[in-house]
Symmetry: C2
Subunit: 343 residues, 2 copies
DNA sequence: TTGAAAGCGCTAACAA
DNA sequence: TTGTTAGCGCTTTCAA
């Protein structure tokens, strides 16, 4: 069933049917009625692929994220989807799984499918292939938006978080609460969030005149397993820390896994400050302090930014639009931490 | 840049270029080389939309799920994406948010975009619009696969879980451990998982000759808020239960939220058996027993089933292919539960 | 208010 | 081994 069939059955031309369907141009009410009668009768649904080809515009955007199983990304995705739907856009989901190979192949898909834009949290901030592609996309009028991670020197729009401030303020609270031996499990230092959260930690410590033993800065990779190892090494030190700042949700979980498997109780034996809240722990009122973000909002803003810059090919040397959202510090229980400050 | 441009620049016809690109039909090696030289030089990427229209096949499947923020669905999605990618398929993500209106609009999109198939966890098992659409899709040769929830009387393929057995065995373990006052927070009884998990609970209780006070069966909706209320009403009873079987992950969380906000400790003051494990609680070794499923596998199987039945339009009256995956019971800690059985 | 016809970029049957 | 050409299903200009 094609538009031609509908035209024949109604006794009009395809042009008229097209005008009726898309509400573009004049169609006599009587004609319109007849057309839709036929359409309904035959349950005709116009072929969007043909339409896309004809008007040279797919109302579809690609979303390339590393790990949909991560609470952060699934919430970002949810925000993106919400705004996309409000604006009649569809989402091509592309999960890179932190694999450069997959990311590259997805960028090809984005290009081949002539998507209107792409929202991406790149696997690596230093990958040249990805950077080149994204720049080419922009050049060709596609809308490109980064989420959380950056592509240095690319001037691509993005939605980020105020990592430095949040980390600094958070760690400062630990210090105010009396902690002096504060360690961290950082993220990859080649990534914006990894770098910035570590910087915030350092600023807070130095600002308070606290010395940071080199062993207190362990290098995680934003995943559980590695964080588990880092926690292990921290707790094996001669002078183990009394508080740990973990740089993302999985890092927090890996760290907690080590601590609990060693019968340590958070908020009593040790304090943890995690970056990003963890839904399930909130429900059981777990004594974990966190730096929280509105992840849905990050997604919504990303999609809005994308929509805003559709077809802005010609605006050369435009200032980069970089939205930096604030974080919120949530202190939960952890009596020791509070009391220490007063004692 | 189109295939025509490449043809002109190379001095061959579009047919030859097409053959070279798609490795279909003969192309002299020398010609091939020249074609790709031009392609690479100009960074030409074939237009997949035009290709789709021409060959009448989008290698794209739709995934309609109610809530990507739910750990269960994000893991299913992950599994789907894995198999899709292995087979060169793309995924159009459509989050219905448990809204029938959105679901219907997504079904339109699936049809308009001429997707190869659709994997869906329908919002309601009784919705006629959705049922009709899915049947029409099948009739037209699209592959349709249900996940977790059913569409009764439709004979559509699907991947489900062995809910009854799992719930029955799980609750039986609670009984073996000495519990007699076991309540449940059920799911919607119009949905397969809701219905079946409740049935398993009833079977276990009746099988053990235990009476189920009507107030012990509270009716949740698979969401947190409602589960919170249910837990509240259960704990307010004259004879509150000593164990609760919660019928999905969010139900568990809502229940836990009520209990912990009332200073009750799981595994000491009360036992909980949840359907579906919760990643974060696993990490902190929380004393929650659960019925676990391999959620990634569910997604993978769903995608495999979809691929298998592509273009099977003509096989009439085929037996419905319904994959029922087993669950695993994971008992965690909960000393009281164990001891009771022996005392 | 409507229709004829060209075109979107690609594929594939057929002929050469 | 290659080219010609007729679609795929829709939009849109131009003329009527």
């Amino acid at each position: 069933m094609t538009i031609q069939d509908i035209a024949n059955l109604t006794g009009v031309s395809t042009a008229t049917v097209s005008r009726a369907i898309n509400k573009t141009g004049y169609v006599k009410e009587e004609t319109r009625r007849r057309i839709f009668e036929v359409i309904d009768k035959h349950k005709y649904v116009p072929n969007a692929v043909a339409r896309s080809l004809s008007i040279n515009d797919t109302s579809c955007v690609g979303v390339i994220i590393p790990d949909i199983e991560n609470e952060f990304f699934s919430k970002v995705m949810s925000g993106i989807a919400e705004v996309a739907e409000e604006n009649g856009y569809h989402i091509l989901f592309l999960g890179s799984n932190e694999s450069l190979k997959r990311e590259h192949s997805f960028l090809n898909i984005v290009e081949a499918q002539r998507l209107a834009g792409v929202i991406i949290t790149p696997v690596s901030e230093e990958d040249v292939f990805t950077k080149d592609r994204l720049l080419r996309f922009k050049q060709r009028g596609m809308s490109v938006v980064l989420v959380d991670r950056d592509v240095p020197g690319s001037n691509i729009d993005g939605v980020f978080s105020d990592n430095v401030t949040a980390a600094r303020d958070g760690v400062s609270k630990l210090i105010e609460a009396g902690h002096t031996k504060i360690a961290t499990i950082s993220g990859p230092e080649t990534s914006k969030p990894g770098k910035e959260r570590l910087l915030g930690y350092i600023q807070a410590m130095e600002g308070a005149g606290l010395y940071i033993p080199p062993q207190y800065v362990t290098h995680g990779d934003f995943r559980k397993q590695r964080a588990f190892e880092c926690a292990k090494s921290l707790l094996s030190l001669n002078e183990p820390p009394t508080a740990i700042f973990t740089s993302n949700n999985l890092t927090t979980l890996g760290c907690l896994e080590y601590l609990t498997s060693n019968k340590m109780k958070i908020g009593r034996d040790i304090s943890i400050l995690g970056f990003d809240d963890i839904e399930a722990l909130k429900a059981i009122n777990y004594k974990l302090s966190v730096i929280d973000r509105d992840m849905n909002q990050i997604g919504r803003e990303a999609m809005r930014l994308l929509l805003k810059n559709l077809n802005k090919r010609h605006v050369k040397n435009r200032e980069r639009e970089s939205i930096v959202l604030p974080c919120t510090l949530i202190l939960r229980g952890a009596k020791k931490m509070r009391l220490k400050g007063r004692s």
